[in-house]
Amino acid sequence: MTNLLLEWVIKTIVILLILVTAVAYVTLMERKVMAWIQMRVGPNRVGLFGFRLWGLLQPAADGLKMIFKEDIVPLQANRWLYIFAPAFSLIPALMTFIVIPYGSEIHLFGRAIELHVTRMNVGLLYVLALTSVGVYGIVLAGWSSNNKYSLMGGLRSSAQMISYELALGLSIVCILLYSGSLDLVEIVNKQSVWFGHMGWNIFRFPLMFVFIIFYIASLAETNRTPFDLPEADSELVAGYHTEYSSMKFVMFQMAEYLNLITASSIATTLFFGGWNGPFVGRLPILGPVYFVIKVLALIFLAMWIRYTVPRFRYDQLMRFGWKVLVPAAIVNIIITSTVILFLT
């Protein structure tokens, strides 16, 4: 019991540290990818002792800079909600990761350690629950800043997240029909080879279309371009975090990139076989490596879309969500159930 508790605590701390570091470097990756797509060089100066190191220490410099910025609370703002809103959006983003499996099982110090923090038989519902709670941080930040741009950003974001959550949930139903379990570990175990009966979900007949719906909806859920209406710079200054500065602003940025990482990890888990890959049965340590590669590829896809596709108009966004994505997801559920009915 104590041993198990200790294992949980260590795993949680390790995951937390990895996630926070990953967030810092995903921001660097974002800037590098943006520069590459726009044919620029990007950040390449920050280094140590005169070595530039390809700008790899840029996140540290950014963090240090943000810490020394002045922390401003607007006079007319609702003080407590203004202070707590960044936490409301960061905590759910951090909590999601505990159900995602990133490997099978490794032997360390003479005991088998399963490479996921915890498994629950409602794992997928847990993820959905946290996504739906995550919207409060943005809404409260928008309201408590007492600024019309912030309020508009908060309102837009809540409307957008409610609309696209529906499509997200409905597209996950198709996965459930195939896997028969809400447990993410179980879902990954059912995709142990590439094709065929136990193949990756992305290679099954209706599920490749489901992935498109899922991916669009998850881009909207994480407020990424072309769905970054809550912080549309040209109309709303910076949206819900217009008034925020210093580390509170960083917390919003962290939550945003954490959500991107989490969304990519969930997509990997649900569609791309999670940590599965060649030789993973013989060398379990390869599991996390494959997992990270797949997640990075999906993050790159999101960045690629961000710097290629222009932003939607707000009414287009709502119409697309309700009149295209939701019906398409429902049709896919019907097709998936029919296929399963005829296969079994």
Binding site: M1, M120, N121, V122, L125, Y126, L128, A129, T131, S132, V133, V135, Y136, V139, L140, G142, W143, L151, G154, L155, S158, A159, M161, I162, E165, S181, L182, D183
Partner: protein, 173 residues
């Protein structure tokens, strides 16, 4: 040890639930009331977890804290209520009526509490994915034993949705 932990967790979470439920009534600002209600809903879902009803706990957060309360907060923010609240009209007659009703409610609560005292949680046995409270057991029960009530409820909700759309529709649309 697990039992002790569960007891401590229950006391803490139940205290939070009751405190935030009281806060809903005390607060003057409707947004604070809505936030307290979210607190109550979240702590209730933790209580469901201690009762081994994971599915209900997750659905509680998704449906109530995630969907319905977001709409509430949305509406409150859009209406932007004035800071000075108008005094609620005092209705003496209703107040007198409230006392017997409250009495009945409290008596009912004590009656229920006396009834459920001997009950204990069913000890989980067999496949851990199929014990009472999991998604599997609820899904199977809903689509076999309780199919008719389930379908009737869904038709009822559909009627409510269609009715709301008809009422909200503007002329000439």
């Amino acid at each position: 040890m697990t039992g002790e932990l569960e007891k401590i967790l229950f006391i803490v979470v139940a205290a939070i639930a009751v405190a935030s439920a009281l806060n809903i009534l005390i607060q003057r600002n409707p947004l604070y009331s809505a936030l307290s209600l979210i607190g109550t809903l979240l702590s209730l879902s933790v209580l469901y977890l201690t009762l081994r009803a994971q599915f209900i706990a997750a659905i509680q957060i998704i449906v109530y804290a995630g969907a319905i309360m977001v709409l509430f907060v949305f509406a409150i923010m859009l209406l932007n209520v004035p800071k000075t609240q108008p005094e609620v009209e005092k209705q003496k007659g209703l107040r007198l009526l409230a006392i017997p009703f409250a009495g009945v409610l409290i008596a009912e609560m004590f009656f229920v509490l006396r009834q459920i005292r001997p009950l204990t949680l069913p000890v989980p046995s067999g496949d851990p994915d199929q014990v009472v409270g999991t998604t599997w057991s609820i899904g199977t029960a809903l689509f076999s034993d309780y199919l008719l009530p389930f379908e009737v409820t869904s038709v009822l909700i559909l009627m409510a949705v269609v009715g709301a759309m008809v009422l909200a529709r503007r002329e000439g649309d």
